[in-house]
């Protein structure tokens, strides 16, 4: 793992914001502009074959930029896990052409947070119905009042 982090720093030094390990989990924070390049490198040269999870966190009023997109990668060949985070205002590059399995996860993150995954060919609703107003997992979404009743279709 140290080796991977060293190479990552060497290669993408300007794009790596921070690297730290807490509670036994290694986190790399990457600038969103370089995200796709780094992900491709992690998959092809570092052995992270699978994208285990993709989600986001809304830091409204606590951090700038507001959102953080969180990726959890898994390397079966090396038995390693890595968390990659990318702070963004609401647009990141899609990783669906690197891991097709990101499809459902990006659609869910899009409909819950309104984060635009550039390059994802079908950002449509998956758990909510088409035309759902608002982004429910954002912190400024009022869950008591903003949830509309679906019209019976």
């Amino acid at each position: 793992m140290d080796e991977i982090l060293r190479v990552l720093k060497e290669r993408f030094g300007a794009s790596v914001i921070d690297i730290y390990e807490r509670l036994g989990e290694t986190t790399v924070i990457i600038k969103p502009e370089a995200l796709k390049e780094v992900m491709l490198y992690l998959r092809d040269s570092c052995g992270f074959e699978m994208l285990t999870d993709l989600t986001a966190v809304d830091w409204l009023g606590k951090r700038e930029p507001r959102f953080e997109v969180v990726y959890h990668l898994h390397s079966y060949s090396r038995n390693l896990r890595l968390r990659v985070k990318s702070p963004t205002d609401g647009t990141v590059d899609s990783v669906v052409d690197i891991w097709p399995g990101a499809g459902f996860m990006e659609r869910e993150t899009w409909e819950m947070f309104g984060i635009d995954f550039r390059g994802n060919p079908e950002l449509t609703h998956i758990l909510l119905w088409d035309g759902f107003p608002g982004w429910p997992l954002r912190k400024d979404f009022n869950w008591r009042e903003d949830v509309p009743l679906p019209d019976n279709r």
């Binding site: 989600t55 959890h72 097709p100 399995g101 459902f104 819950m112 909510l128």
Partner: protein, 402 residues
């Protein structure tokens, strides 16, 4: 799919693509799953999974609840394996707290996780078989599951949605009735029931014809589509978190990880059947190794005092009231814990801002992500095989939609 594509069948007649909605109300979808199919005759040209009919917003609800109050919501994700959902969640909270769980509680958790795996696989066995027309197998699967539910009722007070795990341990110690009942059950399950289940389907020619070569997934597909659990192991991905990233007491148990390389529905069937055998062995080992000791950690900041002491001391009453009403603060930070749940890798990603409520809780639902493979597996197959695919993925809509 473009409407203007026309096909010519073998007789040279021009045909059109038929769009068909399968579900949301369909007996083989195990809940309310909608699949949109584009058909050329009986062959599937394209499939789109449209879940969401059971979406309850668990992740949003969790942000309003204290860490203890979230546990019952996790039961209702994969409601066929509530105890493993509890487990993944409490392990994530304990990781943030840095809380060490007593040995006996670890053994009890492992034992229940494996018992739950058998229970979940039995429902899969029964319903998968019934979907493909094998009615008898259904009764045999559910008969065994019923015995497990009776045992869980003795232990936890409820058949489903047990909410038995607590942050720091388990709610109550095992009782004598449960242990004797479980010992009898595992013995009869291994010697009698499991061979019966095998006898009905494993060498059954109809079963083989319906499942062999249906829903092919290569190892590369599995990696690309993030599939985990029996779906991955049926395609030759030799990885099991219990062996490769051991948690609880799995490093002290001896078991085999079944892996098949065919990548079809029959291979996934064999993986799950073998897993039931291994899980039964693990339950036996846990019972044999079970140490004495407390079942809840000794951490007054997180765990309320025992109920009998609450009744006769004002300090304990206040202590209990504060933890129950306000919750306990969890240090700032984030944790991602995944476990090998019956249906794949179940993960909880919790971000805490130091308050008694999770700032963000994300559930990495195994079946939601496994369901993506259906869109790939269905293409080129027959419409009747879509039923096989839903069964072989072992979807539970409570977890898919959360």
């Amino acid at each position: 799919m473009e409407k203007d594509i026309l096909f010519r069948d073998s007789a040279g007649v021009e045909t059109d693509i038929l769009e068909l909605n399968m579900g949301p109300q369909h007996p083989a979808t195990h809940g309310v799953l909608r699949i949109k199919l584009w058909l050329d005759g009986e062959t599937v040209v394209k499939a789109r999974v449209m879940p969401g009919y059971l979406h309850r917003g668990t992740e949003k609800i969790a942000e309003q609840k204290t860490f203890h109050q979230v546990i019952p919501y996790t039961d209702r994700l994969d409601y066929l394996a509530p105890l493993t959902n509890n487990l993944a969640y409490v392990m994530a909270v304990e990781k943030l707290l840095g809380l060490e769980v007593p040995e006996r509680a670890k053994y009890i958790r492992t034992l229940l996780a494996e018992l739950t795996r058998i229970e979940s696989h039995l429902v899969w066995y029964a319903s998968h078989a019934m979907d493909l027309g094998a009615w008898t197998a259904w009764f045999y699967g559910f008969r065994e599951r019923e015995k497990i539910y009776d045992l869980l009722e003795i232990l936890t007070g409820q058949r489903m949605n047990n909410t038995y795990l607590r942050v720091g341990g388990v709610a109550a110690d095992l009782n004598h009735e449960f242990i004797t009942g479980l010992t009898d059950f595992i013995a009869s399950f291994r010697t009698k029931a499991l061979p019966e289940l095998h006898l009905m389907l494993t060498d059954n020619i109809i079963w083989k014809k319906r499942t062999q070569g249906v829903g092919l997934l290569t190892r590369e597909d599995v990696l690309a589509l993030s599939a985990t659990g029996p779906v991955a192991r049926g395609s030759g991905l030799d990885h099991d978190m219990r062996r490769d990233e051991p948690y609880l007491v799995y490093d002290r148990l001896s078991f085999r990880v079944p892996v098949y390389t065919e990548g079809d529905s029959y291979a996934r069937y064999l993986v799950r059947m073998d897993e039931m055998e291994e899980s039964a062995k693990m339950v036996e080992q846990c019972l044999a190794q079970l140490p004495r000791g407390p079942v809840l950690a000794d951490e007054a900041k997180v765990i309320p005092p025992p109920k009998d002491r609450v009744y006769d001391s004002i300090e304990n009453l206040i202590h209990h009231f504060r933890i129950v009403s306000e919750g306990f603060p969890v240090p700032e930070g984030e944790a991602f814990v995944t476990i090998e749940a019956p249906k794949g890798e179940l993960g909880f990603y919790i971000v805490s801002d130091g308050s008694p409520r999770p700032y963000r809780l994300h559930i990495r639902a195994s079946t939601f992500i496994n369901l993506q493979t259906l869109e790939k597996m269905a293409v080129g197959g027959l419409i009747a095989d879509v039923i096989t695919l839903i069964g072989t993925l072992d979807v539970v809509l409570g977890e898919v939609d959360r």
